[in-house]
């Protein structure tokens, strides 16, 4: 450590910010810029909604097979542009001390690491074992296991029960069975109401591109055996049944 050069002391910059590139100052953004930005933002919002609608139209009405990622890629690209505009102009990162931009980028870097490394792990489990794709004999609750803790609160005062009995199979199966039992409707009537509730049009029989996607190896290979039947696009006119787990 060298003895400090006291000559370097600048009373106008007592903390030596200049050497770091930090500077003071208040930038007054012009009204014209702000108005332009808000107009662009509104336009981009319309664009992203429009793109999504067009995509839905093409898949459901025209029957086009668009790649799964396209919809997400368009929506997220537009969102990134919008977010950048707000950050740069409304939040004035463009005009301010670059330190704030550095903080923001650091934060994005941490976010990217978090998402990236976690996703990398979650997406690459069990690629080593062929047997995981086979039939599982015992254990492996999967998402389809009933949850004994449906009675979710217990203390000395008493029990608050949100779903009355223990149920078997996934929660949604239980709810469906309960609904049919309570209303006494037929299976067909249930499916009709189901399609209505899920905004599924009779003449398409598809929900969206995601439904036609292959069954994914998700967080757990074990789930694959209980995965939904993803093939009902082929059923043509048929009413789509609610997805049934193959197991149990």
């Amino acid at each position: 450590m060298q003895p400090h050069q006291s000559a370097a002391f600048d009373p106008n910059d007592p903390h030596g910010f200049a050497e770091l590139g930090e500077h003071h100052g208040h930038h007054i953004t012009s009204a014209r810029t702000l108005v332009t930005i808000i107009l662009v933002l509104v336009g981009l919002t319309a664009l992203t909604v429009g793109a999504s609608e067009v995509e839905t139209y093409l898949t459901t009405e025209m029957g086009w097979l668009l790649p799964d990622w396209l919809n997400a890629a368009i929506a997220m690209s537009i969102a990134v542009v919008k977010g950048a505009l707000v950050l740069m102009f409304f939040m004035a990162l463009k005009y301010e001390n670059p330190l704030y931009t550095i903080i923001f980028l650091f934060c994005m870097f941490a976010f990217a690491l978090f998402l990236g490394l976690t996703g990398m792990e979650v997406d690459n489990r069990g690629h080593l074992y062929d047997w995981k794709k086979g039939v599982i004999t015992e254990g492996g609750l999967g998402g389809s296991v009933m949850y004994p803790g449906a009675t979710i609160h217990d203390d000395h005062a008493g029990t608050v029960t949100f779903a009355p009995d223990s149920f078997s199979g996934p929660l949604t199966e239980y709810l469906k069975a309960k609904y049919i039992a309570e209303t006494g409707i037929s299976e067909e009537e249930y499916h009709r109401r189901w399609a209505e509730a899920n905004h599924v049009h009779d003449h398409t029989g598809v929900l969206s591109t995601a439904d036609r996607s292959l069954a994914r190896t998700g967080l757990s290979g074990a789930l694959d055996t209980a995965g939904p039947d993803t093939d009902h696009g082929d059923a043509g006119h048929a009413e789509p049944a609610p997805d049934q787990p193959a197991g149990h």
């Binding site: 450590m1 400090h4 941490a110 990398m120 792990e121 979650v122 690459n124 999967g142 949850y147 609160h153």
Partner: protein
């Protein structure tokens, strides 16, 4: 150092920050409870952290004593179930004993991590010293600092409530789905304890944020980035981690609370969630936070070694950048807590990344030891603690290597080897440095000297007790003793008993130190402003410092470690002679 008058200069008239206000006890309580003075807050944090350290330490001792004998249930001749292992059991029946054991190690872990080690150094010594070392009057946001203290108190309150309400038995890591649906009899307490950790996170964030701004904006005139003491660099790196990592634990614990109450299915496999995702969330914070724990300890060690060896620290920039490097790489390696749970690709990548964090750490140790070379090394309690730190932290760091190595970690993971390793780092590193730092700055904080021989005795007891306790556990771990076991097979009993004896010595050493501190407050000699001959700015202030730290705003004229060229302030130059000046034109380096 020279000084310049400032618009708010208070001159020579004010008393020390410890001077009680007029109006008696009540006024003093009000003054301390509403203070925005970083020094008072630092002292209050110190009291709180040390008290909670005692609670956590007592829980640890209970855990160790319970492990003196393995718990057994056998049928006696009458066919009744009886418990063996009567030496000391936490509960009457075996089932109760297990339950209480699990609660006690959870109490120990949760208190030590969330309430003691994480806020430990930054909130106590950091709060007290950072503005002093920077030559500032206070931290950048004093009222935020006070808020942060009250948030800490609220968090501590929640944690204590959960303990009074029979405690939590999930372990401090709150792994789902055990914590979210299976934790026995502790329904409300898991929520209370996670809420406590959630709240404490905000205290941590606000302190870190405050320190970053203080370091950026409140360095005294003449102080460039590389004129800051290394403790400040360590605090800077720590604060970056606190700000960037803590929010993630916030959302994790929030989701865990939702999971616990509503079973939302994000971490609970019964609803389709993924328990390993919880571990990712958890360790994304909790691994970087390991560096929140150790970096300040490293900073303290740098200060103590330089002052007591009277040497410019070797490789100042290397240590400063190593602090930032550790903070950065610390974000890349959380997966090494999950080698036994992750996919193969991820384990491999995380293992490789983990080795990178060893490099800056090793560089620091080399630099500290090189600093001793040709020094003038004082032999007193802080220096003894610094050497203890180097010894224990080296063991802690080196035993991290087999844990980063995949093949060996698959054996050692979740065993006593891990327990021993992180105690060597967390306790042998952070806590030892913290206690050493308390001795080092005790004269500055309280204006009183502690008793030197008692301090040395305590340090030696702690050193011996610590090694007996935890070195044994390396052998336990490699031989197959899993952690968090209330009972064990008979083969491990001898080692467990040695470890328990060690923990008693360790505990006794801690009480010796505590007694020494208390004694010094009551009957200690008055401390001079600069008992060790330190050069950083806090030694220019009075002991204890005046209310606004310095009587005039300081201007820095020398680096913090120019021991070869500058006589320390407030000292007799004859006591701290300088080496021959360099011949004209000779270069320093």
């Amino acid at each position: 150092m020279t000084t310049i008058p400032t618009p708010h200069d208070h001159g020579h008239h004010e008393g020390s920050y410890l001077t009680p206000p007029k109006g008696g006890f009540f006024a003093a309580v009000i003054q301390w409870a509403t203070t925005v003075d970083h020094k008072k807050l630092g002292v209050m944090y110190t009291v709180a952290v040390l008290s909670l350290f005692m609670v956590g330490g007592l829980a640890a001792l209970l855990v160790r004593v319970e492990l003196w004998e393995p718990t057994r249930v056998v049928l006696n001749e009458a066919g009744e179930a009886v418990t063996t292992g009567q030496f000391f059991q936490l509960g009457k029946t075996p089932a109760e004993n297990y339950t209480w054991y699990n609660r006690f190690f959870t109490i120990h872990g949760a208190i030590m991590v969330f309430l003691v080690i994480v806020p430990g150094v930054p909130a106590t010594l950091g709060n007290f010293l950072l503005p002093l070392m920077l030559g500032a009057k206070d931290v950048a946001f004093p009222r935020l600092n006070l808020l942060s203290w009250y948030i800490y108190c609220t968090g501590a309150l929640f944690a204590i409530l959960s303990l009074i309400n029979t405690g939590v038995d999930t372990g401090w890591t709150f792994y789902a789905p055990y914590s979210s649906s299976h934790a026995a009899n502790t329904y409300n307490n898991v929520v209370l304890m996670t809420t406590a950790a959630f709240i404490l996170g905000f205290s941590s964030i606000l302190t870190g944020l405050n320190f970053i701004v203080t370091i950026h904006k409140l360095r005294c005139p003449g102080m460039g980035w590389f004129d800051m003491p290394l403790f400040v660099w360590a605090m800077y790196a720590t604060s970056i981690i606190q700000v960037l990592a803590t929010p993630v634990i916030g959302i994790t614990l929030l989701l865990l609370i939702f999971e616990r109450i509503f079973h939302v299915g994000i971490f609970d496999p019964a609803m389709g969630g993924d328990p390993v995702l919880f571990q990712h969330f958890f360790w994304f914070y909790s691994h970087p936070v390991v560096y929140v724990m150790i970096l300040p300890g490293m900073g303290i060690a740098s200060e103590m070694i330089a002052v007591h060896a009277r040497k410019p620290i070797f490789g100042y920039r290397a240590i400063a950048f190593a602090s930032l490097g550790i903070a950065g790489v610390g974000f890349l390696v959380w997966g090494h807590h999950m080698f036994t749970a992750m996919g193969e690709l991820a384990s491999t990548i995380f293992s490789a990344l983990t080795f990178f964090v060893a490099i800056p750490t090793a560089v620091k140790v080399f630099n500290w030891i090189a600093t001793l070379y040709k020094g003038s090394i004082a032999f007193n309690t802080p220096m003894l603690y610094a050497l203890t730190f180097l010894f224990l932290f080296s063991i802690g760091g080196l035993t991290g290597l087999p844990l980063a190595t995949l093949a060996t970690d698959m054996h050692l993971h979740d065993s006593y080897f891990v327990v021993a390793h992180f105690h060597y780092v967390m306790m042998g590193g952070t806590i030892i440095a913290f206690i050493g730092g308390l001795h080092h700055w005790w004269p500055k904080i309280t204006g009183k000297m502690y008793t030197e021989w008692v301090g040395m005795t305590g340090c030696i007891m702690v050193f011996i007790g610590f090694n007996v306790t935890f070195f044994t556990q390396f052998f336990l771990g490699t031989q197959g003793m899993p952690r968090r076991y209330a009972s064990y097979i008979d083969e491990f009993q001898t080692l467990h008993q040695i470890s328990t004896v060690g923990s008693m010595i360790l505990g006794a050493g801690m009480f010796v130190q505590l007694g020494n501190f208390l004694h010094s407050i009551v009957a200690g000699k008055k401390a001079p402003p600069n008992p060790w001959g330190g050069l950083s700015l806090e030694w220019y202030a009075d002991s204890p410092p005046s209310e606004h730290n310095f009587h005039h705003e300081p201007i820095l004229t020398h680096g913090p470690y120019d021991y070869e060229d500058v006589y320390p302030p407030h000292c007799d130059p004859a006591d701290f002679p300088l080496p021959e000046p360099l011949p004209a034109g000779a270069k320093h380096h």
